[in-house]
Amino acid sequence: MEISRFKKINEYEWEIAKTGDMRVPGKIFASSKLIKEMDEKVLEQVTNVATLPGIQKASMAMADAHWGYGFPIGGVAAFDANDGGVVSVGGVGFDVNCGVRTLRTNLTRKEVEPKIKELIDQLFRDVPAGLGIRGEISLAPEQVKRVLTEGAKYIVDLGYGLPEDLEFTEEEGFVNGADPKNVSDLALKREKKQVGTLGSGNHYLEVQYVDEIYDETIAKIFGLEKNQILVTIHCGSRALGHQIGTDYLKILAEASRKYGITIRDRELVCAPINSKEGQKYISAVRCAINYAFANRQVITYLARKSFKRIFKNSELKMVYGIGHNTLKEEKHKVNGKQKHLFVHRKGSTRAFGPGRQEIPQAYRKAGQPVLVGGTMGTCSYILVGTDIGMERTFGSACHGAGRAMSRTKAKKMWYGKKLAEELKKKGIYIRAHSMPGLAEEAPGAYKQVDEVVNSMHNADIAKKIVKLKPIGNLKG
């Protein structure tokens, strides 16, 4: 994008002036290098979101922003119901509460590296992944409804986890106000034993080690040490979540007409928070949020079992779990006033600063861990939320590296099998359910994760705590 179209607030914060029917300005939090490389569509989408009723402060995009549908990926927008605020499917996406959870082990790189092939092969057998796959756990329809209302808590109650898994999951593993009556029969039927499945696309389970520590004190609080082996799980709410997104795309399209909401683009269909349709959507999204928390909990259970088979004395404990495609009701200060807002994060991670009640007691003084997934060939990061982030971005940060190249182009540039061989030479062992899918996820198809994370760090929105490097990856 042309950098001259922005007003520079500082090196990492760029403003799009409020013009025409924009209700607030647009803001991108990224280095000038990343902004120059971003697709024009990001600017257009940030601007379009700025026109939606009840939007607060600014329509934002993080350093990993790229062209999405409706909202940009990396987009953050908060709405006030008392100001006519809306909720939008485009602000959450089809894969509701797609997110990550990171587990720390009592193993070191030295112990795991010689057995990485064995470990990933075991995980490949134990963790169901790929298109249309079914899980190991079969839930009766009544149990599925309990997953929708009680999320990971219900799964832990069933015996697939530890109480502390919940303590270190955002919202303690489930959000209130999820009523399955707002979820269609079709969505419930599509559930089809999918709890505990990774899915496909960019979803993965990665075995990593702590390569670099930037803040010893906070790393210690998060239980992290150099060369320690971690496991990160990235997946979402599967077919059930996709169907909820699909159902409400249509419902909100009709609601936009009914309530006469002017939208610049059809993909921004929305409903007032204080409308029947808006409330139903919020409730359905919460069901999908809970389902995704439950999904990652079951995968955690499966991963622990796989680890035990290879490393008898292994222990996997939660660092943290969080979603990055969400719609959350949160308290934030706007112009000095405390407000209840509905925050859309579409490919953006909540990054709450120190002291927030939502952060587990053990981490509260430090701030919330922010899990940023890189690519399978480069690295990932754990950051921590800050007070500045609370003030500037409603406590939100980037979620990944962000694509820099289309899937179509990536498939022309790389072959899955060859890519896996190249990564193996670099010491990263990959198993994938789809080889064309693997090519689409080639590290070279993404932005430089270092540049993305440094933008967040230098802007003081989320500070770097550790860098993680992969040694094994299981792809959907």
Binding site: D39, K41, H66, W67, G68, Y69, G70, I73, G93, F94, D95, G130, L131, G132, L186, K189, R190, K192, G199, S200, G201, A239, H242, Q243, G245, T246, L249, K250, A253, E254, R257, D265, R266, E267, V269, R403, A404, M405, S406, R407, T408, K409, H433, S434, P436, G437, E440, G476
Partner: protein, 139 residues
């Protein structure tokens, strides 16, 4: 007539071209499933009826694609042949069907999972005696 995919930074665009709007919808459905698998490897064995409706042609197109995805997922199938009939009453309605078989990861060369069809880059247009329909699908 023909179908194709086109690039999008994060997702994939699908396009169907036909002499009639119905044919364009059918072609686009091939593009949709070709994102997921090699559709020439999918036998048109089992028929699944598809019905949907929407306020306008554009939303009908997205409904058609999303109905196909829902039915494929529900029946654990992939489709390769399609038939569409469009009627305009109070709303636009499709009565049609899809033909396919059970998804087989060995046989069908799985590529991507489509999560849903979106309103992004959505077009249903008649140009030079041809219908062109397209949108971005979320993968």
């Amino acid at each position: 007539m023909s179908y194709e995919t086109f690039p999008h930074e994060a997702d994939i665009g699908i396009k169907g071209i036909g002499k009639t709007i119905e044919e364009a919808f059918e072609e686009a459905a091939k593009a949709l499933f070709d994102v997921e698998v090699d559709i020439e490897k999918v036998k048109a064995e089992k028929k699944i009826e598809i019905e949907c409706q929407a306020q306008n042609k554009e939303e009908l197109f997205v409904e058609w694609l999303n109905s196909l995805l829902s039915q494929a997922s529900l029946n654990e199938m992939v489709f390769s042949k399609f038939k569409v009939n469009i009627k305009k009453n109070k709303t636009f309605e499709i009565k049609g069907y899809a033909l396919g078989e059970k998804l087989d990861s060995e046989k069908h060369n799985i590529k991507d999972e489509v999560k849903g069809a979106t309103y992004s880059q959505l077009k249903v247009e008649q140009k030079n005696n041809k219908w062109v329909v397209q949108c971005i699908v979320d993968v």
